[in-house]
Symmetry: C2
Subunit: 369 residues, 2 copies
């Protein structure tokens, strides 16, 4: 695979941690919400094993917040998501597909309820702020919408609990998954959620006070020595094995949430008002025409930089691979693919061309592990 | 300057031309509207000189289109821009700041009027489609909004006229600047505008038929041999010398168009209805508090990856540099900066720290050339 450099400019915003991760050995970036997101610290496999056994600190400031505050804030947030938030609680995070009036996915953020009239939408890579502003203006809602100065640090991996306990005390280990609360470090309180884009356990610190966040960053590496802490970033192997979906990679605006296996976040049988509700009811009635599934491919390497066709024995396209990676656990390539009807069945076989060679593959359920 | 690689994935979409430019020697990418935009083919200075004397073909597919079609299309387009489009003509391009209800810039696209009820917004790097969808839904406008399959090829440089004449005939040289029309190549008609993100002259081909576009791409390089054609991309030196503003770099949502010197595209004294109109009237009455200006710095190199403070003799911040580059023409660093009031005057001097060294600079008018 040919390597290309990333051209830096103010438009691909640096984070408060960029200068630190560059000293710590970041080797690749991607862009995420117009910001630099670290994509590699050397070997992907080394990082994968390290993440599964130890603890890593991730600069995921690219996961920007859209703050919505005001009298109509809850109404606007509910309008944008097909998940029923009428019983949502302050202090909790909610994974919420955001969809447009045709049922197409616009983002799949985690939404934090800060109080009854104040929300943070912790976004994947699309300008949800523009959708929210457009809706608010058009509906004449009484809200303020802006991007607050929040730069998330994720602490991920099985030893994250011990590390965070050492810094913030016992209470932080008692928080439930997708709960959040405020924890103090050197006189500054940070919003910390039990969450993160791995299935190895951990936390996300929503740093609002940049200076205090940098001090915390340094402390995490100082205290973390005994837990073999390393800098890291979302790991392609781990996230595919765990089937953590990536907006823009696995799912996009041409997909609806029912096609993406997000059924449990689609509340069609409630009274709440959200965009695309009638269309999704119709989709549910008629049945989906494509479905996101796992695939296992008898290959030893792959680089997915765009959709790759999955074909049957007669060279007929039955779906497309959207993400894929060699898994050292399965000793095969695994991936996430959109399969057309009626091919989205477990054990459906296919062929795929990787670098000009044909490999055999099989459809499976998600997640892999 | 340390070099980092770009992590490719489906989320940073390839263009139809990506495989070609990778054979032709692209060395760096940036991301633009969730797509790969070539950022270098080797030396920036070599490309600069070549562009000013010859002709280049650019893969600028990242300049995506937002198509707005339907009974309320013109109403929606006008609502989004402070430029009066009431007298706009089919077959013309219009540079239009898009602003929100607080007057903050959301994008600075070129808008093409395809017919009375159909527009293309040819966008800089932000998801204008989400803003348009939100506004249309909220206002209950009768429109369809989508991203058509259009992948622009730019042909730029003084010899672009001769090259395009050879392929499309004499008529293409008679088109006025910012006009567009349809021209045939091997039985397929392409929308071609006399436009592009350089001041060296040229065209943009709005390729809708991908296969025909690839054939045209190859023909441009075949016929272009006699004009010394090369692959290229927007050139940082040329675009700063020419003061072609870059959304996200030079201007962003925290700026209004009056602060950015875009006064002639802000039509406050007309009857048309657009967002932020009253706020901009107020800004105009009270006077702007900051202004985008050129700067010349007594230095031989610079890499601007984030804002750099401009300070006066007492170390007081008077503005910030947002883009900058060494200009072989001026034999100095030139840049685009936002200066605070009252420092936005020609000949205002300042100091700036570049890689730990202090350099002297001076404010000037834009463009440089």
């Amino acid at each position: 695979m040919k390597i290309f450099s990333i051209a830096k400019s103010r438009r691909l915003r640096s984070t408060p941690y960029t200068s630190r991760i560059e000293k710590q050995g970041v080797t690749a970036y991607t862009s995420y919400n117009h910001m630099l997101l670290p994509a590699a610290f050397g070997s992907l496999e080394d990082s994968y094993y390290h993440l599964k056994e130890n603890v890593q600190v991730w600069d995921v400031a690219g996961e920007r917040q859209v703050e919505i505050i005001g009298k109509d804030a809850s109404k606007l947030v509910q309008l944008m998501t097909c998940r029923d938030l009428s019983k949502s609680k302050v202090g909790r995070c909610y994974y919420c597909p955001i969809i447009d009036n045709e049922g197409g996915l616009i983002n799949d953020p985690v939404i934090l309820k800060l109080n009854e009239n104040r929300w943070w939408i912790s976004i994947a890579d699309s300008d949800v702020i523009l959708f929210a502003k457009g809706l608010a203006i058009g509906n004449n809602f009484d809200v303020k919408i802006f991007e607050p100065n929040v730069n998330i640090l994720a602490i991920q991996g099985p030893k994250s609990y011990k590390l965070m306990e050492k810094i913030f005390g016992k209470k932080i280990t008692e928080m439930k998954f997708f709960g959040f609360d405020y924890f103090e470090f050197v006189d500054v309180k940070h919003l910390i959620a039990k969450s993160g884009w791995s299935k190895q356990g951990g936390y996300e610190v929503y740093v609002e006070n940049t200076k205090a966040g940098l001090a915390l960053y340094d402390e995490l590496f100082e205290i973390g020595k005994e837990f073999n802490v390393k800098p890291g970033c979302p790991n392609l192997i781990e996230r595919i094995e765990s089937a953590l979906l990536s907006y823009g990679n696995d799912i996009d605006n041409n997909d609806n949430p029912l096609e993406c296996g997000l059924d449990k976040y689609v509340d069609l049988d409630t009274d709440v008002n959200f965009l695309g509700k009638e269309i999704l009811k119709e989709v549910k009635k008629k049945g989906i025409k494509k479905k996101l599934m796992g695939v296992i491919i008898e290959a030893k390497e792959i680089n997915v930089s765009k959709s790759i066709d999955l074909i049957d024995k007669k060279n007929f396209k039955i779906g497309e691979l959207r993400s894929g990676v060699y898994s050292p656990h399965f000793k095969k390539v695994i991936g996430i693919a959109m399969l057309d009807k009626p091919y989205f069945e477990v054990s459906q076989t296919f062929k795929i061309s990787i670098n000009g060679n044909i490999f055999e593959g099989k459809v499976c359920d998600l997640p892999f592990i």
